[in-house]
Assembly symmetry: C2
Homo-oligomer: 386 residues x 2
């Protein structure tokens, strides 16, 4: 029987090549007056942010650029941005970038209106409806954050990533334009692409999933598997970029209505402790968690494998082939192993502890303990040395 | 390349067994005061409407029941209902039933606030934002209307079905409870089930579709194909009812973000002229339109076939097998042929004319003319006599 669920999509999606041009129209519809563009220094340097400022200027709107967002966005990033937004009476945030600026922006829209520290908003029912407006414009095909209603922030004192979640912090509009990803370098394309694949697989298999999220996750896997290698090798191939962006969007819609699971629990622990790139962490851990989950997820993993193109009718074999496929794919697209993150074996106990405490731990399709996480960190580590 | 598109879902979905109990909570959230329950006489007689009135009474709200909605809802049904709603200062409509009461209700929420005749609202941009609130509660697994933002109404003077469409007339909330379908009789279960299958197939294959709609349509086909025969034969099987309801929901989400196509063009012509049941018309015409579309939709029809369980790797063979599968399925679940609608061969010219004028004609995956429609009506008719 299908478990009861609620499905709500507070974000209007506008997808397509060159779609960024509709930003002005959407700002008008939201009656924006004072805009804050939240982004990072890399995008400013690359000259990409000027596309956005031009469109905002064309509308005759006042705006400020806030580009102090770091990777794995920190509590103080968000709190400073919100203070600046209040000072400038910002009513609309345009988040432009990968997962970090977008996640940060989702926390900024609540803090600007409702005050306090970002950690205050962790836990159910803490976020009230009253937020300033948010438009998200992703520049990587991976995060999915442009359409989710959660924001993952690092508590810098405790070195722990936590999530705030509410439909109230979701974007009013997401403008998704694959052309913006044409200049993403190969390694980032690879890591963010496998991040999207992880979202799709975890969204489809999480034990709190529902059929809408399953449909979207499963279809996302096809788009990503068929296009990731080409997008990495030939970044100028707009068709591959287009389909990777679509895969990432479908995956974002899937996991935001289901959940992520143990891959993210482990990746967020690594991200908290070493400030390691989130997509890379997911990419490294995905096949190990899948191997662990196999006894509980064979049927679904077989469908994942077939969606990736594995031609095998027997479920048990197909599921195993799928895991192999992901391992080979990671190698093919040049993703390094876990040791590239400069991690310390002595931290594995602590990392396992953090993983089991993660809010998505209960969503993993197979029951998983601290000892299991410890074993998985060790396995990924040892494999890397073989 | 993926064609640019917009995806918006104005409706919050609450799905699950026994979910109807949340009606009170949702009426509170909408700040409802004066409620109109739009339904039909059959549901009142069957005692099902009392479930709804009890829940409304529990909230201490004033309400009226409007049960004058006919099958293939008529312009005067909607206009009378809106007049009554205005008279009683209704602020919230609860649509309870199959596609007819729900489609009618979507027209009532605009007419009550914006006045005039329903035909005035045909065409882009005619409907303003300002509508009274709508909650939809489907009692059949087929219509999908609970989550779409269109309403198909019969112009009784011209004997022509037309569509009004806007996110403003979509339900604020749809409460989808498969238990409400347990008493639907076998022939209605069969016809509405194939209606849902038609939505899924046309939503997936319409030439204006996009990947989100494709994913949902394709997954819907699995749910429907695996459960329709059991739901028809053993209506008390709640698991089959649950999965049919989910299939219908997924299909509704698909075609409302894509479109329907020539099956609906022909079915709506039949519905207009003979007041024939919509689900039945779709069910009868589906395989003939698929045969016609085959040269333009082979790849997608092969995927449709595999989603229904056809085990054939070669696309051209799989697509043909899929059409055969649907023909056999229709027989298995007891659906009659086109002559059961008491139609007149002499009307085929006129029916073909109406079909080609339908707003969804351009969405058909293969170009189709009046002569083609004439040929298809004849083919369905002749087959029925063989």
């Amino acid at each position: 029987m299908i478990t009861g669920f609620e499905f709500l999509l507070p974000t209007k999606i506008r997808y397509g090549l060159g779609m960024v041009k509709v930003l002005g129209e959407e700002l008008r519809l939201l009656k924006a007056k004072n805009v804050m563009i939240i982004t990072d220094k890399g995008l400013v340097k690359a000259g990409l942010v000027s596309k956005i400022t031009e469109l905002v200027q064309k509308e005759g709107l006042s705006y400020i650029i806030y580009d102090e967002i770091e990777a794995n966005p920190k509590d103080y990033n968000v709190e400073l941005a919100a203070e600046t937004a209040r000072k400038h009476s910002v009513d609309t945030v345009v988040a432009f970038g990968g997962g970090s600026p977008i996640d940060a922006a989702k926390a900024v829209v609540v803090l600007t209106k409702q005050g306090g520290k970002v950690r205050d908003y962790q836990g159910k029912g803490k976020i009230k409806e009253d937020c300033i407006s948010l438009i998200t414009i992703p520049t990587t095909a991976g995060t999915g954050s442009e359409v989710t209603f959660s924001s993952v922030i690092t508590d810098t004192r405790e070195k722990f990533k936590f999530t705030i979640k509410s439909p109230a912090i979701a974007a009013k509009v997401s403008i998704i334009d694959p052309e913006l990803t044409l200049t993403v370098p190969p390694l980032v394309t690879a890591a963010t692409g496998i991040d999207a694949l992880t979202h799709a697989i975890e969204g489809y298999t999480a034990n709190c999933t529902e059929p809408i999220a399953e449909a979207l996750g499963l279809y996302a896997i096809e788009y990503i598997a068929q296009n990731i290698a080409e997008a990495v090798k030939n970044g100028a191939n707009i068709e591959a970029r287009d389909k990777m962006m679509m895969g990432s969007l479908l995956a974002g819609l899937s996991f935001s209505h289901s959940d992520v699971a143990s891959v993210h629990c482990m990746a967020e622990a690594l991200g908290s402790l070493y400030d390691a790139p989130h997509g890379m962490c997911n990419a490294i851990l995905l096949p190990y968690v899948m191997e662990y989950n196999l006894p509980s997820a064979e049927f679904k993993y077989a469908r994942v494998a077939r969606a990736m193109g594995v031609d095998e009718t027997e479920d048990s074999k197909a599921a195993l082939e799928g895991i192999k496929y992901i391992k080979n794919l990671s190698k093919e697209i040049g993703l390094p192993g876990i040791t590239s993150l400069n991690i310390n074996r002595e931290d594995f106990e602590h990392l396992a502890e953090m993983s089991v405490k993660n809010g998505s731990n209960a969503s993993n399709p197979r029951k998983i303990t601290k000892d299991d996480y410890f074993m998985l960190f060790n396995k990924a580590y040892n494999d890397n040395y073989q």
